[in-house]
Subunit: 221 residues, 2 copies
Amino acid sequence: MSESQKPVIGIIGGTGDLGSGLAKGWAKAGYPVVIGSRSREKAEALAADLGHGVRGDDNVGAARAADIIVLAVPFASHDTTIAEIKAEAQGKILVDAAVPLVPPKVSTVQLPQDGSAAKIAQALLGEGVRVVSAFHNVGAAKLHKGGKADCDVLVFSDDKEARDQVIVLAGVVATRGVGGGVLANSAAAEALTSVLIWINRQYKVPGAGVRITGLDDTVQV
Amino acid sequence: MSESQKPVIGIIGGTGDLGSGLAKGWAKAGYPVVIGSRSREKAEALAADLGHGVRGDDNVGAARAADIIVLAVPFASHDTTIAEIKAEAQGKILVDAAVPLVPPKVSTVQLPQDGSAAKIAQALLGEGVRVVSAFHNVGAAKLHKGGKADCDVLVFSDDKEARDQVIVLAGVVATRGVGGGVLANSAAAEALTSVLIWINRQYKVPGAGVRITGLDDTVQV
């Protein structure tokens, strides 16, 4: 792609609540978006509903078409889906949005033995893929209503350039993208999701989120 | 203590940056505060500087005098300090503010094998102590200047009543205390500290913090 073109975003698990919300937000802003699903027909049908030029395909097709792959599948399907798209992901940025929830206690932090879902993804995909971790704490409701999520998105990666690209994408669908450091730091955002689920239940609110204080809003972050 | 009295707060590691900042904030608001240190003389000297009736003692003495014990020591001293005050803590609330940073890479999340510092504290102290985890992400600078920290304080415990007491204390020294669920969820706040250190360095800000969005500010939380 040339510098003036927007990257093609392929959302794996794009028919889910988060995946389809992100698809809508990016497509509205002019990004070419392909949503992937295990069922191509289901993805095509939802893509037509979303409009804004969103296309549907199976997961492998969506990964193949993408410059940047976003993985938005339940943690139970995380490793198998990565295996499915591994070949198509080589040389690309893969944004892991999977949260390692362990049902039924989804409001209790239970991080994987390896530290984080993102570290598992990097290990499975190998060094040819630049893994970024983000979008764990984004409530999709506002995206589906056509707005931006009212929260900061923490973005983690061992690759600065990839992290910066995803910070830009985060600012399109949420209040702001904020760099959070190396990929290992993804554990913080992954763990926070269970905390936010607990807060939603305890305080009876629809979608608690996180905002980083102490950063000047006028600063380009 | 009677219901109308404020609890005595004993801050272990109370001569450190966070501990002395918290001491100042609570003492200004009328809480009886004892700061503990390995050196009683050092604690007494700092207590005199802090004013507002703050007293100084050694760590065991501060724990003995306290209704609520706050542990604000570096992680390297976490387990040994707990062993030192274990007997004095029985039947009380112990608030663990220790963050499991692993120098020199303090901006990289490196949670302990057992999941969190707070879980280690509960295991060491036994069931006779109600462990609460909080104050991991509070910048002490504003407290030392006489103000409140500009952030929410996430408060974790397996004991609701203890959690609620510490949520009140958090609201005295920071914007707001917010319940974050069971003690295991402390992993999220402990991990966040490394993320905030990274953000401070990357964006060249003095004290990034966290705020929970989506909670009505007028709601008593």
